[in-house]
């Protein structure tokens, strides 16, 4: 290639030894270095560093930022929740994110290969990550299916969740819908067709099943060509949610009653800072919001060029993730304020109507402002009639409307839709909103599937027989088939099981082992010099302090807290929808559901010790075999 002093030699085949130090980052052994070098030649890469940043952002910024953070903010002290949140971001979020990105960029392999490079006994960590990612992608895509369902139903006038359907003889509304609300009815009856308990599983509902198949097809379309296609899609999935959030911010702030919600949210309740649950929730939220431990970040970073400045990217991604949470909670709370004010005013008008009808007062005589004094007047003037009416008069309170803290699918599909149906041009807002949910969900799914596919395509055994498209297709097909469980009538209960247990405890363990592996097995100093060789930056004392001390301690305390929470809770319970009453009731899990929960937690956590044990045994057998031969 024209450089003076250059000579051409033929590289000997693998295993025959290789003299001379390489120009590449230091591998563990010459053979390892050969393999790494050869794989480097064929490894796909991001088109430019911006695609990598966008991929990380679209993975990290997901539905949790929209529907979990506002709930936590509301529960744990409003504006004062930001204090533990930012502290945890600095102590835990940024260091762990940088660690995963650095590991991926350094090892240039998926999670299994990366941890195997650090120590063969630790490949179990990679396997556990893949298992956890598999569980996550199974149930996460069901949310995308629901978003598709709502998106397709947004093109109607009136919106189907804004009116109750009529009953059979057309004289009134459907009973279940009357008892609950029209949005709840649409979610529980029309979308999920939920059964009264987890034992009654019912059959697969074809409508959500179709939407689920479509969701998996869209995911397959995006990951089909690897980083080539993913890199283009992430521009869209990373940027569109922000466009929609800004539009919603402007719309939300101009809604009537939005300021009520904002004032409510941002009023700090400083006494919540003394509650340990506040700090634990902040730590947990940072941890799960960044998507650590699934192997997706390692996978994304492995497609980077080694000289990429992942420190800067780690800080940027974690800051953007947290600011998106705060930003979306502003939007959510202005919507909350609007909904609460609307319901409060509705409640007031119902009371006014009731009083006007009972006492035959002039229409329009009672208003919101003179209601209280008039009530007293009526109570004193017509005591007997008032005492008849009194039980039916609801106490309307704006506080109690704002206090209904909702998270998860309930927030996204019930509360938001209730607010949207009362806006003007509600079809447009509905389409925008569900499109945003879709891009958030698909963006996260790209990361989840990358975590599963990267180790599979890295493995030579599999990639020799199957092309990348075939592997992706197979993974999508299997996940789609299994996740049909969530489209059954009891599917939402199984969804809640997966959501709460599949990837919580195991992830804490995985990340703990990851930090210990990098700091103490691989060596913090060695890792630091590797990073310096790669990127040119020396490792700051801040990162060293966090990786070696603070973050592991935090994770251990989170782990202990979760374990003790599970143990102390006794029997696990769930919320079931009671159609006759039109509300949620608490029920106990049956024994086979508990068995599934334990299986979920065990199957990913047990990978770590089991694989280590397996490798140890094969190692011993090999040693004994070579000893017998020699």
């Amino acid at each position: 290639d024209g450089r003076p002093g250059a000579t051409h030699i033929t590289l000997p085949p693998f295993g025959k030894g290789w003299g001379g130090a390489p120009c590449l980052p230091v591998p563990r052994s010459p053979a390892e270095g050969l393999r790494a070098w050869a794989m480097e030649k064929a490894r796909p890469q991001w088109g430019n560093p911006l695609q990598f940043v966008f991929a990380c952002i679209s993975y990290a910024v997901g539905l949790g930022n929209v529907w979990r953070f506002p709930y936590l903010c509301q529960m744990y002290g409003g504006g004062s929740f930001l204090v533990p949140y930012i502290i945890m971001l600095i102590l835990e979020g940024m260091p762990l994110l940088y660690l995963e990105l650095a590991v991926g960029q350094r090892m240039r392999q998926g999670s299994i290969g990366a941890w195997r490079t650090i120590s063969p006994y630790l490949s179990g960590v990679g396997v556990a990550s893949v298992v956890a990612s598999f569980f996550l992608s199974m149930y996460y895509n069901v949310i995308n299916a629901w978003s598709f369902w709502y998106l397709f139903h947004s093109f109607q006038d009136p919106l189907p969740w804004s009116v109750c359907p009529l009953n059979d003889n057309l004289t009134g509304y459907d009973e279940e819908c009357e008892k609950a609300s029209s949005t709840q009815y649409f979610w529980y009856r029309k979308t999920l067709n939920i059964s009264p308990s987890i034992q009654e599983s019912g059959g697969v509902q074809w409508e959500p099943a179709l939407c689920l198949i479509l969701a998996w097809l869209v995911v397959y379309l995006c990951i089909l060509r690897g980083t080539e296609s993913t890199g283009k899609v992430v521009y869209f999935t990373a940027l569109l949610p922000y466009c929609v959030l800004i539009i919603y911010l402007v719309r939300g702030l101009t809604l009537h009653g939005a300021t009520n919600g904002l004032v409510y949210m941002f009023t700090p309740k400083v006494e919540q800072l003394a509650n340990p649950k506040t700090w634990i929730s902040a730590a947990t939220q940072i941890f799960f919001s960044l998507g650590l431990g699934f192997g997706s970040l390692i996978a994304f970073a492995s497609y980077n060029e080694p000289s990429n400045d992942c420190q800067k990217h780690a800080i940027v991604v974690s800051l953007i993730n947290s600011s998106t949470s705060i930003f979306s909670s502003i939007v959510t709370f202005s919507i909350y304020g609007f909904k609460a004010t609307f319901n409060y005013e509705n409640c007031l008008s119902k009371v006014i109507l009731l009083l006007t009808n009972s006492f035959d007062l002039e229409d329009g005589f009672l208003t919101a402002s003179n209601l209280e004094p008039m009530k007293d007047y009526l109570a004193s003037t017509y005591p007997s009639k008032y005492s008849e009416v009194f039980p039916h008069i609801r106490n309307c309170s704006l506080e109690s409307e704002l206090n209904t803290a909702v998270q998860g699918t309930g927030l996204a599909f019930i509360v938001y839709t209730e607010a949207i149906k009362n806006m003007e041009v509600s079809q447009l807002w509905s389409v925008l909103y569900f499109f945003m949910l879709l891009t958030l969900g698909i963006g996260s799914m790209l990361g989840n599937t990358a975590a599963i596919l990267t180790p599979l395509t890295d493995s030579k055994v599999i990639s020799r027989h199957l092309s990348r498209e075939a592997i992706s297709g197979l993974v999508c097909l299997i996940s789609c088939g299994i996740s049909m469980v969530f489209t059954m009538e009891a599917g939402n209960y199984w969804f809640d099981i997966f959501n709460d247990y599949a990837a919580t405890l195991s992830l804490l363990l995985i990340v703990l082992v990851e930090i210990i592996a990098v700091c103490y097995v691989y060596g913090l100093r060695r890792f630091g010099s590797d990073l310096q060789a790669m990127t040119g930056h020396t490792l700051n004392w801040y990162w060293k302090a966090m990786w070696a001390g603070v973050s592991p301690l935090l994770i251990v305390s989170l782990f202990i807290f979760y374990l003790s929470d599970y143990i102390l809770m006794g029997t696990l319970q769930y919320q079931a929808w009671d159609a006759t009453q039109g509300k949620l009731v608490t029920k106990d899990y049956p024994s086979y559901a508990l068995a599934v929960i334990w299986l979920l937690v065990a199957s990913s956590t047990m990978c770590i010790p089991l694989v280590a044990l397996g490798i140890f045994i094969t190692h011993c057998l090999k040693k004994r075999g070579t000893a017998a031969v020699a």
Binding site: P4, A21, C23, A42, F152, L166, L224, E305, N357, D363
Partner: protein, 222 residues
């Protein structure tokens, strides 16, 4: 001499039309709620119109004798605006059965509402439930149409990508056999510099592996 008869008639009327009387219906209007500033005042002329509409509804019932406006009696008009009404038979001695009146009003509910610029919620006949209009269901639900469109687009895109991938793969394998899987054959020509093997420039698109550029700066220049 006519006065006692007049009082008798009013007494009978008063008996026929009373709150909770047999076959009497309560009507409630919320004019200000419906019309806001354009609300009209409820006076005897409006009552006359109401009686006329009820009489009209009764006349539309087949096989019923012609009901006159004077057969419709109103009483207990409150400020709300609410009142009770009954429909008497031509002899003005007893009231028509509630079932008949109910079905007649239900048939013509729309006309009555329109006469007062109100709707089913603001002009309420208590005890006469209004029939809701059945929702307009298109033959194919809209969501399936949109689903079908998006589904077809995605399938076409997936097929195109897979086919182009297969075509690219075939072109690669048909190409020079020397450019084969380096991992399998483990043989390749590389550049050695100062006894150190370095990755040559990637010929794919002139893409320079920046690792080696930075590495070069740290190596002793030749």
């Amino acid at each position: 001499m006519l006065w006692p008869l007049f009082f008798l008639m009013t007494a009978i009327h008063a008996e026929l039309c009373q709150p909770d009387a047999e076959n009497a219906f309560k009507v409630r209007l919320s004019i200000r709620t419906a019309l806001g500033d354009k609300a009209y005042v409820w006076d005897t002329n409006e009552e006359y119109l109401f009686r006329a509409m009820v009489a009209f509804s009764m006349r539309k019932v087949p096989n019923r004798g012609a009901t006159e406006i004077s057969h419709v009696l109103l009483c207990n008009v409150t400020q709300r605006v609410s009142f009770w009404f009954v429909v008497t038979d031509p002899s003005k001695n007893h009231t028509l059965p509630a079932v008949e009146v109910q079905s007649a009003i239900r048939m013509n509910r729309n006309r009555i509402n329109n006469a007062f610029s109100l709707n089913d919620h603001t002009l309420e006949f208590l005890k006469i439930p209004s029939t809701f209009a059945p929702p307009m269901e298109p033959s194919v639900p809209i969501w399936i149409i949109i689903f079908g469109v998006i589904f077809c687009i995605v399938i076409v895109a997936v097929t195109l990508l897979i086919l182009s991938g297969i075509r690219q793969h075939r072109r690669n394998t048909k190409g020079p056999s020397g450019v084969d899987d380096t991992e399998d054959k483990c043989e390749n020509t590389i550049t050695v510099e100062n006894g150190i093997p370095c990755d040559p420039l990637d010929t794919k698109g002139g893409h320079i592996n920046e690792v080696f550029l930075t590495e070069e700066e740290r190596l002793t220049p030749l």
